[in-house]
Amino acid sequence: MKVSLFITCISDVVYPRVAAAIVKLLNRYGIEVDVPDIQTCCGQPAFNSGYWDEARASASTILDAFEASDFVVAPSGSCTGMIHHYYEELFKDDRVRLAQAIRLKEKTYEFTQFLVQVLGIKDVGAEFPHKVTYHPSCHGTRLLGIKEEPRELLSHVRGLELIALPHQEDCCGFGGTFAVKMSAISGAMVEEKADHVLVTEAEVLVGLDMGCLMNIGGHLEYRGEPVRIMHVAELLEEGVRRAHEH
């Protein structure tokens, strides 16, 4: 079984700790993770802006990188959603690429989906005695239907107090280039999202997409609010280490 990591560009360059956490966690279950070096980005920034040639150039590296994999795991509902929801459209005029895209879609999973649906793991044996709130990112929820998996995983973490985020389904305003192009609207959206996070009085905000977390976390920092942002994988991995230290 060849399990490959789709690092995603943001996790590679800005949040390498997230990709590392996934590899370490899977290693505990004996799963050796393969990291193809030719992968870059799923192409979403270009695709969503309408630049499909540019998106294809980037997405092609993903198609090629995982040809030989049995499973592909990614620390992002959005990048996984791109593969699942848009690759067929993007490559519809290229028979060979289209076939590749369909094969990739079938084997690509967002991290919590992979853990719960594929491996059947709900309790990683972690301990994390903190108040935590969870922001379900739009693409993971709406394009992939991820609803229960992260909650299931978090519910088994000992000491963790999960506080419901009010209006959790609202978009944080990230939207890739939207945050830059329509910065005032995006700013108003992230401000509202941050208000909701602060209402929970959580110490940690977790999610499945570093883009959204960078947005909310960046705004909280701008306001001087000391809420820590973490990917669910990071939290679980840190929690497992903590449990083993005891």
């Binding site: 560009c9 360059v13 030719i38 870059t40 739009c138 389904e169 910065s183 609207i185």
Partner: protein, 539 residues
């Protein structure tokens, strides 16, 4: 609110011609933001509760979608069936290719009737026509009779929400407008204000020569038109005046009254969370010879006005499935912050962001309306007939780029993206370069400067600095460490699960069908793909 939004005043002008500019103005209007937020949140939770109460909502949505897909795929047949049956009831049916033709037809009828006044119930199609303006130019008084529409007519504004047109007005502003009309001071009390409007409009209904309505649905099988409303003004304008003129978008058809049960379930629940609107009227022609009320003459003007452009277009045909419930507006976080007027068209919110350019035959020219979305998909989730609006927004952006109308800076940025992302080696190089470039700006692991491309982002946030190593750069070492620490063998159960999944995947490989093959009607639509390029040129 812990802080206020700081708009970039240097780019805000008096009458901004971009969504961005209008949005920034709207964002600075604290009342507007709060009013829109309050109302949309109420409607949104009402809708969710109504869907939940009804049960099996997904099944009903899918049914609604199938009925709409089927009807639109055979629109010529059902439209013809409707027209024949309506005529058999004595309806005068007319066809208008565009707004101008519809206005001409209306004016011919109004002049023939020597009309002095026309009362109107809410109709988005009539907003497309700007019919009030045309009537007034001929000296015919045009009165909006929906409470919200009446208010914005007095204010000389346009609706900012499909369902709640005056969502942006508070009761004090409304009291002021109505007091002017009443010639006396009316208190800002809803019951008093509504009471005044009831009395005032009652006179108008009884003396008007023409009643004008929209059309929620038209039933092919019976030649009936159906109106959904809560106030009763729709019934007034279609009962009291001698002549009724109905404006109907050509896609409003459904095959039978049986199908109406589905629409009557989806529309009110999605729009306001009601089980059914207070009035649902199925109107089949003018009054019968023996009847004592109802219009003596009924005209239905069937309007194209850009709708047929969506037919045969695989990306946009589903736009014609829309039943105008407004659920996407209420679900949209962008709409909630900027309100309807910022969209700058007759239709606002996510549906407006797609429909406006689509109907205007110039998708590529509508500059930034499609950019005003984070593509969160809340609109799709809320839509009772499952129109993939978030996907359509991407297709719009794509067509704009294809037409060579992409912004220069963005285009260059995307060329850079392509250069970097088409080769992992370049990505690695750029990461290194980035770490070097960021050095003078990093404070405590973050970047706060607002220069160049960072301006939009850092006006509301801090940016994390790049760590000393990318994941790739640490991978070799991490891999060795993990290897050295001794990896356990994979649990039998886990291995079995994985193997089972791979086996199942290989088996289903040969029977693979794409996402587009979900229904026979869509299949028919996808057969048209070949001809699409040609049509795209027309836009």
């Amino acid at each position: 609110m812990l802080m206020s939004i700081r708009a970039d005043h240097s780019t805000v002008q008096k009458t901004p011609d971009s969504v961005k500019g209008r949005a920034e103005l709207a964002l600075n209007n604290e009342f507007l933001r709060r009013a829109v937020k309050f109302t949309t949140e109420r409607l949104k939770s009402g809708k969710l509760a109504a869907a939940e109460e009804h049960g099996n909502w997904e099944e009903w949505r899918e049914r609604g979608r199938q009925i709409r897909l089927h009807t639109i795929a055979h629109l010529d047949y059902y439209l013809e069936q409707f027209v024949n049956n309506a005529r058999a009831h004595g309806v005068h049916v007319h066809f208008a290719s565009d707004a101008k033709e519809a206005v001409q037809l209306t004016m011919r009828i109004a002049k023939e009737k020597q009309a002095k006044s026309a009362v109107k119930s809410k109709s988005m199609v009539s907003e497309e026509l700007h019919i009030n303006h045309a009537l007034e130019e001929e000296g015919i008084e045009a009165i909006e009779t929906d409470l919200g529409e009446y208010i914005i007519q007095l204010a000389h504004e346009t609706p900012s929400h499909i369902i709640i047109p005056a969502i942006h007005k508070n009761r004090h502003q409304i009291a002021e407008l109505l007091s002017k009309e009443a010639g006396e001071d009316l208190p800002p009390d809803t019951a008093v204000l509504a009471g005044f409007v009831r009395k005032k409009l009652r006179e108008k209904f009884l003396e008007a020569d023409i009643g004008m309505t929209g059309c929620n649905f038209a039933i092919a099988e019976t030649g009936s038109m159906v109106l959904f409303e809560n106030e009763g003004n729709g019934r007034m304008v279609s009962t009291v005046p001698k002549t009724q003129i109905t404006f109907m978008g050509m896609e409003r058809i459904i095959p039978t009254l049986d199908d109406l049960e589905v629409m009557a379930t989806l529309l009110p629940r999605s729009a306001t969370g009601q089980r059914l609107t207070v009035y649902m009227s199925v109107l089949s022609g003018p009054r019968r010879a023996a009847d004592a009320d109802g219009p003596e003459e009924m005209h239905i003007i069937i309007l194209d006005n850009g709708r047929s452009l969506q037919l045969g277009d695989t990306h946009f045909q589903e736009l014609l499935n829309c039943i105008r419930c407004g659920a996407c507006l209420n679900a949209c976080p962008v709409y909630r912050h900027i309100g309807g007027h910022a969209y700058g068209g007759v239709y606002s919110g996510p549906i407006g962001a797609v429909l406006t350019p689509a109907l205007n035959k110039n998708m590529a020219e509508w500059d930034d309306i499609a950019s005003a979305s984070s593509l969160c998909g809340a609109c799709y989730e809320a839509c009772p007939v499952k129109i993939p609006l978030h996907d359509m927004l991407v297709y719009l952006r794509h067509r704009k780029v294809e037409a060579g109308r992409g912004e220069q800076a963005e285009k260059m940025g995307m060329q850079g993206f392509r250069f970097i992302m088409s080769d992992a080696k370049r990505l690695k190089m750029i990461a290194k370069l980035g770490r070097w470039v960021q050095k003078p700006f990093v404070r405590d692991g973050k970047i706060t400067t607002q220069i160049g491309p960072l301006k939009g982002w850092n006006a509301y946030r801090h940016l994390p600095s790049l760590p000393s190593e990318t994941f790739r750069e640490q991978w070799k070492q991490l891999e060795q460490e993990l290897h050295a620490s001794g990896r356990p063998t994979v649990h039998e159960e886990i291995r079995a699960r994985m193997e089972k999944l791979v086996a199942a995947r290989n088996q289903s490989d040969h029977m693979h069908a794409g996402d587009m093959a979900r229904s026979s009607d869509l299949q028919a639509a996808s057969r048209l793909k070949a001809a699409e390029g040609e049509r795209r040129d027309e836009r």
